[in-house]
Symmetry: C2
Subunit: 210 residues, 2 copies
DNA sequence: ATTTATATCACCCATTTTGGATTATTGTTT
DNA sequence: AAACAATAATCCAAAATGGGTGATATAAAT
C-alpha cells in the first residue's frame, strides 16, 4: 500500500490490549498509519528521529518516564510533532500539566474509536482535540471571577500592578497622589489577605480577579 | 408541541438573514427551541428574566453594546445560562476577551448548520464548543516556552517570586544566602530586561516562562 | 585550553514598599 | 437620614528591594 501521503502516527501506551486496539483503529483510517508502538517513553524517544511521527498518541501513566515528561522531550526533539494525550485522568492538575508540557490535545480513555479518529482529524486540521469535560476545564480557566471582592478602582490598580508599575507610575497614570495609590493598594492587600505585590498577583491569578 | 423538555435558546445577532437562519437551524432540532431573537444586547437583557434562556447564541459585532459587554451582563444576571459566541473574528484578543467575559463556547460564522447544532449539543453535555482554530489558540496559551533564556535555577526562583515569596523566604527555601537569591533575581531582571518583581512576572506570563 | 554560563556569596547605598494610624469626601444603599 | 463602601489624602517608622561592584568555583561549550 502507498502510505506516503498518510500521517505518521506513533503510539505510546503500556497496556498491550489498549495499544493494539488503538493501532487497529488508527490503521483503519485511510488518512493515518501507525509506524510503531511502544510501551514506554524511553524506547519511543530513542527511535523518535527514525520514526519522525506527525502525531504521537501518548498515555500519561507509564512505568518509567511519565507521559508528561516524555511529551516535553519529544516536543523538544521534534517540535513539529503533534502530541495527543490519552488518559483515564481528567482532573485539572493532570490536564494543565500535560498541556503546559506541549500536548495539543487531550482525550479520555473512555473515548470510542469515532472520537479517537475525530481527534486525529482535528489535530491534522490544525485544531486541538479535547474531550467534553477537558474543553470545559480549559475554558473555565479564562473566566473572570464575577464575585471579586475588589472595587473597580482597586481592580484597575491591581491590573497596573500586574503590568509591573510602581506606586509612582500608578499615581501618574491615574492622576492621583502617590499616597492615594498606596492607600488603594493597602486596601487590596487587606481584602486579599496578602502583604506584597507579588502575593497579590498570585492571589489575583488563582482567584481570577484580573 | 410540548417544548418543556427542550433547551431554551435566545439568539442575539444584528443581521436579520443570519438571525433567521440560526433560528431555523436551532428549531430544526428536537432538543432545542428558540424563545426569542434580538438584534441588540440592550433589548435582550431587558427580557432576560422573562426568557430565562439555557443557551444564548451571541454575535460580537453589534450596534450599541458589544456582545462581550452583553455576555458579562447576562452571566451576571443569569449565571446558569451558557453563552456561545458566534463571530467572524477569530483573532486571539477577541477570543480571549470573550472567554474572560464568561462565554463557554466560541465558533466562527463560517460554521455550517451541523457545526452549530454540534455546538449546542456539546454545551448541553457540559462541554465548551470551539471551532478548530479557536481551540488551538486556547490550547497554545498553555504551552510553556521551550526557548526560555533563564537557567533552571533562575526559573525555579521566578516560580517562587510568582508565589509571592520575598528574598528572605526564597533564600530559606533554597538554602542559599539572601545575597545569592538577590543575585539570581538580578540576573533574571537583566535577562528579561525588567527592573522589579512585578515586571518580571508580567514578562514571565507574556513569554510563558513559568 | 580558554572562554562562557551558572551558581554561589558579600558589602554599600539609595529608593521603594510596607505597616500602622487617621481624616475627609463622595456616592450608594437601606 | 443613616450606614456603608469606595475614593482620596497625609504622617512616621521599619522592612524589603534594587543598583553598583566584586569575588570564587564549577560545569559546559568552543
Amino acid at each position: 500500500m502507498n502510505t506516503s501521503f498518510k500521517k505518521r502516527v506513533v503510539i505510546i501506551e503500556d497496556d498491550v490490549e489498549i495499544r493494539n486496539s488503538y493501532e487497529l483503529i488508527v490503521n483503519s483510517s485511510p488518512k493515518f498509519f501507525v509506524l510503531n508502538t511502544y510501551d514506554n517513553c524511553e524506547d519511543a524517544i530513542k527511535q523518535i528521529h527514525n520514526d519522525k511521527p506527525d502525531i504521537v498518541l501518548m498515555d500519561v501513566e507509564l512505568s518509567g518516564m511519565s507521559g508528561i515528561a516524555g511529551t516535553k522531550i519529544i516536543k523538544d526533539k521534534i517540535p513539529h510533532a503533534e502530541i495527543i494525550i490519552i488518559s483515564v485522568y481528567d482532573n485539572s492538575e493532570m490536564v494543565f500539566e500535560a498541556l503546559r508540557s506541549g500536548a495539543s490535545g487531550y482525550i479520555t480513555k473512555s473515548s470510542n474509536y469515532i472520537e479517537l479518529l475525530a481527534a486525529l482529524d482535528e489535530i491534522t486540521k490544525g485544531g486541538a482535540p479535547m474531550s467534553t469535560k477537558i474543553a470545559r476545564l480549559v475554558i473555565d480557566t479564562f473566566h473572570i471571577n464575577p464575585n471579586s471582592p475588589l472595587s473597580k478602582r482597586e481592580t484597575q490598580i491591581l491590573q497596573l500592578i500586574s503590568e509591573g508599575k510602581t506606586y509612582t507610575q500608578i499615581s501618574e497614570e491615574l492622576f492621583i497622589s502617590k499616597d492615594t495609590a498606596k492607600s488603594h493598594i493597602r486596601n487590596i492587600y487587606s481584602k486579599l489577605q496578602v502583604n506584597n505585590k507579588s502575593e497579590a498577583l498570585a492571589k489575583a491569578t488563582s482567584d481570577k480577579l484580573i
